[in-house]
């Protein structure tokens, strides 16, 4: 380690002293909108030295002085080649033209950095174009559901947008929206994710070989970057769908200096379902559910070297139900009113300042806030009216939980020369955990009881520092080596963690490389989740003096190859060990108990191993991928399943995801306007989820008091649900309008109406008790009207 630090420092000292080199730096952006092109590649053609644009579109390339030819490229964009006489440091901002604005689709740009050349393995960049063109559930484009189609990533139950990456739990995904963690990324009990595709610029998924800049979660990083807002002109886009509508507006406030984007979405399930619910309840009950979310971002360029961003997300899900009954007997009228509600939502804000300190050093300073809260409440009120007057009694119960973060961090990108890309930074997060508080209130005659019980709020600091270097040794070897250090201070307990990270590749030839990685991760937060229900009742809780932080070690090895310039193929094997996982004890639940959460949980371990195969076609009219995962995932807790190993709920032996889109030729309609069609197809197959079912019953002892019968459970997650498979198809019909573009999207979710399991229960059929499977969604047609202007 000491040698490594010496080497890093020597670059700072030595490189500036080399007089024959100069640095070319600047930003790469979309010509039409000014949107930064994250990951665009910059290559000096003669020497083949290159670099890529960072998350803010900044690049820096230090190369020998002289006349140089530099190629700027980005997938889906026309490549730009510049000849430059480089005799000193030179700033060059480049704007690339999207291939979508060209008349013919076959004119497609060259690719960004090829898969075999990257150090990073177990990582996929998800194209927003792909997210928008694939068939979608009920017309709602969903980033998380697109990610679920990739190998190594498993969905939860039917329709769910939850992610289970390489045997990890849903809490082990670091979901970042503009660098801010999102604690609950789902709407409608998980059927939709909170990310509005219209507001998103880029998405990257990392499943292993984590670079040192990421920390705090064990299993994945999903780095989502919002658009910045069009710098050039005012634009909008929106859609009207079956269950929701959305609208995004963006444009310059001061051209090429200040821009904004605001994007909002709301469902109208409540309006659609209310008459049905009221009818079903004979008018004595009503209820509704809706969600909304808003993304907004403003950025201002103070100078060529300084830019400020303010981004925000807020969204809520609200579910309510109320009933009213009245009875009149012997002149006494009793009126019973009840109200029930379920609410949850996130608020996320980030203020960030980009500063180019010099041609090789870029800094980003961020202040951020993130909050997730969940509340379930119910109240009952009884009013009795008779000749003597009116009496009321009231009962209220509320349950709150949540987590709130205030954080700050500063990150640097230092590019001393084309062979090194160094990133380092520090940060601190102040967490406030609200792990389940019950509020109970009774008002009856002269009796009033108002009490609050449950777990106490807990406060913690999570500090981290990291350094990583992506460097080449010759042309064949490339490594990313780093160290992430973190500390967690909760009450009087401090945990420290040093997490070495390594990934490397060796080029076998120009088209193929072998890769390997190791990553140690630590997670100071736990998510308490009941396995038997799918409500957003999950509790974020901290590591404490009794509950240790989660840790994992993951190794991966793989091969990456580009075939015929169009196909990228990767095969990977991995093994992941996880320690200090927590689960509720047998019989425990989050609800209705005044026990501290620490008394309700068990700590244990888990492990997952398997292989993943991905073939992806990124260029041409037909694009998409096929992914296959073969994996095993187990858990072991001393006090669960009597200490025996049991399969994780989402232990899925086989998992296949196929996503393909095809664009047909553009043609002219009767008015001479361009029209084109693209079609999409998604197929998924997965081994059935494991669930816990009692299949036999017998007399307990002692018989009598307390019940006589016990339902025997052979083991935790002892029963396999039927396998899951589904085909979705969709077609998008695009048409250029005088101002903008319109798209009609039609889709069929579950095209062959497979009855996939959602949950199982014991019911009756022909007076016989049977095991029944509830399936949520048969074939579901959808359509939406999308527009851009």
């Amino acid at each position: 380690m000491r040698n490594y630090l010496v080497a890093v420092c020597s670059f700072f000292l030595v490189v500036p002293s080399i007089s024959q080199v100069a640095t070319l730096s600047g930003f790469i952006s979309d010509k039409a909108s000014g949107e930064k092109l994250i990951g665009a590649t910059i290559i000096e053609v003669e020497s083949k030295k290159g670099t890529s644009a960072n998350l803010y579109g900044f690049y820096s390339l230090t190369i020998p002085q002289g006349e140089v030819t530099v190629r700027f490229s980005y997938v889906g964009y026309k490549t730009v080649v510049k000849k430059i006489k480089l005799d000193s440091n030179y700033k060059l901002n480049i704007e690339l033209e999207s291939s979508a604005t060209l008349k013919e689709f076959e004119v497609v740009a060259s690719q960004s950095e090829k898969i075999q050349e990257k150090t990073q393995m177990s990582s996929v960049d998800i194209s927003m174009e792909k997210v928008k063109s694939l068939p979608v559930f009920l017309g709602e484009q969903d980033i998380m559901k697109t990610i679920q189609l990739l190998p190594g990533v498993q969905s939860g139950s039917e329709g769910s947008s939850g992610l289970y990456v390489r045997g990890g739990g849903p809490d082990q995904n670091l979901i970042l929206l503009d660098g801010v963690p999102v604690y609950n990324a789902s709407h409608l009990f998980g059927f939709f994710s909170v990310f509005n595709a219209d507001a998103i610029n880029s998405v990257q998924l990392i499943k292993g070989g984590f670079p040192a800049r990421y920390g705090g979660r064990l299993s994945s990083v999903i780095d989502i970057r919002m658009k910045e807002g069009n710098q050039k002109e005012f634009h909008g886009e929106g859609s009207i769908g079956l269950i929701s509508s959305k609208l995004s507006l963006e444009g310059p406030i001061i051209k090429d200096k200040t821009s904004f984007i605001i994007s909002a979405r709301r469902t109208y399930i409540d309006f659609l379902a209310r008459p049905l619910l009221e009818s079903a309840a004979d008018g004595e009950a009503t209820g509704g559910y809706y969600f909304y979310d808003v993304n907004a971002k403003v950025n201002h360029k103070f100078s060529e070297t300084s830019r400020l961003y303010l981004s925000a997300y807020f969204g809520d899900d609200k579910f309510s139900a109320s009933t009213s009954d009245s009875y009149l007997e012997n002149g006494v009228e009793d009126v019973y009113d009840s109200e029930n509600s379920l609410k949850w939502g996130n608020v996320i804000t980030a203020l960030r300042w980009n500063k180019i300190i010099n041609d090789k050093l870029f800094s980003n300073t961020t202040l951020r806030y993130s909050r997730y809260r969940f509340n379930v409440g119910f109240s009952e009120k009884t009013t009795t009216k008779d000749n003597s007057g009116t009496e009321t009694s009231e009962f209220k119960f509320d349950y709150f939980s949540g987590i709130e973060d205030w954080a700050g961090n500063i990150d640097f990108d230092y590019v001393p020369n084309p062979n090194h890309y160094i990133k380092f930074g520090i940060g601190d997060t102040y967490h406030t955990f609200r792990p389940g508080v019950n509020q109970f209130e009774i008002n009856e005659d002269n009796t009033n009881l108002d009490t609050t019980f449950g777990s106490q709020n807990q406060f913690a600091h999570e500090a981290n520092a990291y350094i990583e270097d992506d460097f080449k040794i010759g042309e064949l070897f490339k490594f990313n080596v780093g160290l992430h250090a973190s500390a967690f201070i909760v009450n009087k307990k401090t945990y420290f963690s040093l997490q070495p990270r390594f990934s490397g590749r060796y080029l076998l030839d120009e088209t193929m490389s072998i890769k390997a990685s190791y990553a140690r991760m630590a997670q100071f937060l736990h998510l308490l989740t009941n396995t038997s229900i799918g409500l957003p009742t999950d509790l974020w809780v901290p590591a404490t003096d009794r509950i240790a932080p989660q840790t994992s070690d993951q190794i991966a090895i793989g091969v990456a190859k580009t075939l015929k310039k169009e196909y990228e193929v990767s095969v990977e094997g991995y093994y992941k060990w996880m320690d200090n996982l927590i689960e509720y004890k047998d019989g425990a639940s989050f609800f209705g108990s005044n026990k501290d959460w620490q008394d309700k949980v068990e700590s244990g371990k888990g492990w997952s191993y398997g292989g993943e195969f991905l073939i992806e076609k990124k260029l041409g009219r037909t694009t998409g991928w096929i992914g296959y995962t073969l994996s095993w995932t187990n858990r072991q807790f001393e006090e669960i399943n009597f200490g025996e190993v049991f399969p994780y709920k989402y232990d899925r032996r086989h998992d296949i995801g196929l996503a393909v889109t095809h664009k047909f030729d553009t043609y002219k309609d009767s008015k001479g306007r361009d029209k084109w069609i693209d079609v999409g197809l998604v197929f998924v197959y997965g081994t059935g989820n494991a669930t816990t079912l009692g299949l036999e019953r017998y007399r307990s002892f002692p018989s009598g008091f307390g019940g006589e019968e016990v339902v025997h459970i052979d083991g935790r997650n002892n029963y396999r649900m039927p396998n899951y498979h589904r085909l979705d198809v969709g077609v998008n019909i695009h048409k250029k309008k005088k101002r903008g573009e319109q798209t009609w999207s039609f889709g069929l979710y579950n095209a062959y109406s497979r009855q996939n399991p959602f949950f199982l229960y014991f019911g009756f059929e022909n007076n016989q008790r049977v095991l029944k499977q509830i399936s949520l969604f048969p074939i579901l047609p959808s359509f939406s009207y999308n527009f851009k202007f």
């Binding site: 229900i533 017998y698 499977q773």
Partner: protein, 297 residues
């Protein structure tokens, strides 16, 4: 909360559909169920019944034609226990002996023979019980008992702790002119204790049997402080209180803990599923030893 579920289900049923799944044949085959929690103060008594598939709504019938054999640790037959009024009870007054291991084999035509093994633990006496009174977080008066015992060092021990409340009524006998006392009922008090060695302890958390093991108190003189409601107040009643320290075998301990969690979770849709411990090979139930030490206070 119930209405939320109803409306959720209504919403779900708007889209949902259901179908019937087949279960493996193995789960439809009845197995023998043997239940016996034996102790040194009581003659052997065993309950034999049969299990049914969860799909079968029939009665969980007792079996009266079983051959029930009790063996000592060397597999010497001690007694073939005969059936008698719903149970298999020793006909010769045979009782388990503390510290001894026993095997059981139960055979019934058309069922797989089941076996089990366990031992009868030695009594761990309560040494002292100190009492005081306190007020709980709900403002209610409670009795506090500190129960002290010496954990044996040479073995792993598993315990249950209970307090029995025998309720007596005092009435004035006009005929004799003296006060008579009559036993009314026996209650098992709901105990609360924050002692961290307890499996089911916790402030403001109540259980009739507090369970724990000696992992952190092995060989030590230990005391458990419990609080409980003193029961009905009034001059017409009095309570005889008995602390009971139950020494369990490991199998019995696992069974008691799991059946307690199972009963507590019944009917709670949010609760994690509970597996009830069984040590019957090829069948279900419990064959486990326990020994009770009582202390009146």
């Amino acid at each position: 909360m119930k209405k939320i579920f109803i409306i959720t289900l209504l919403s779900a049923s708007f889209f949902s559909c259901e179908k019937t799944l087949e279960l493996d044949a193995d789960t439809k085959t009845s197995k023998l169920v043997v239940n016996s929690l034996f102790n040194e103060k009581q003659e052997w008594r065993i309950e034999v019944s049969k299990s049914l598939s969860v799909l079968d709504e029939g009665n969980l019938e007792f079996i009266d034609n079983a051959v029930v054999n009790i063996f000592d640790k060397n597999n010497n037959l001690l007694e073939q226990i005969p059936y008698s009024f719903g149970y298999y009870e020793s006909a010769i007054g045979l009782k388990p002996i503390a510290g001894e291991n026993y095997n059981i084999a139960v055979a019934v035509p058309d069922f797989a023979t089941v076996t089990a093994e366990d031992f009868c633990p030695r009594e761990v006496p309560i040494l002292t019980v100190d009492t005081s009174s306190a007020t709980n977080s709900f403002g209610e008066k409670e009795l506090v008992a500190t129960i002290r015992f010496q954990d044996p060092a040479a073995e792993d021990n598993f315990y249950g702790l209970e307090v029995d409340l025998d309720v007596f009524q005092i009435t004035y006998n006009n005929g004799t002119g003296v006060f008579d006392t009559a036993f009314i009922d026996r209650e098992i008090a709901y105990l609360s204790s924050a002692n961290p060695i307890l499996d089911n302890g916790g402030a403001d958390s109540y259980a009739q049997t507090l369970t724990f093991n000696d992992a952190v108190i092995n060989g030590q003189s230990s005391s458990i402080r419990v609080s409980f409601s003193p029961g009905l107040e009034g001059s017409n009643y009095f309570y005889k209180k008995t602390a009971r320290l139950i020494s369990y075998s490991e199998a019995t301990y696992n069974y008691i803990k799991s059946i307690d969690a199972y009963r507590n979770a019944e009917g709670n849709p949010f609760a994690e599923p509970v597996q009830v411990f069984s040590n019957i090979e090829k069948g279900f139930g419990i064959f486990g030893g326990r020994t009770i030490s009582g202390f009146d206070f």
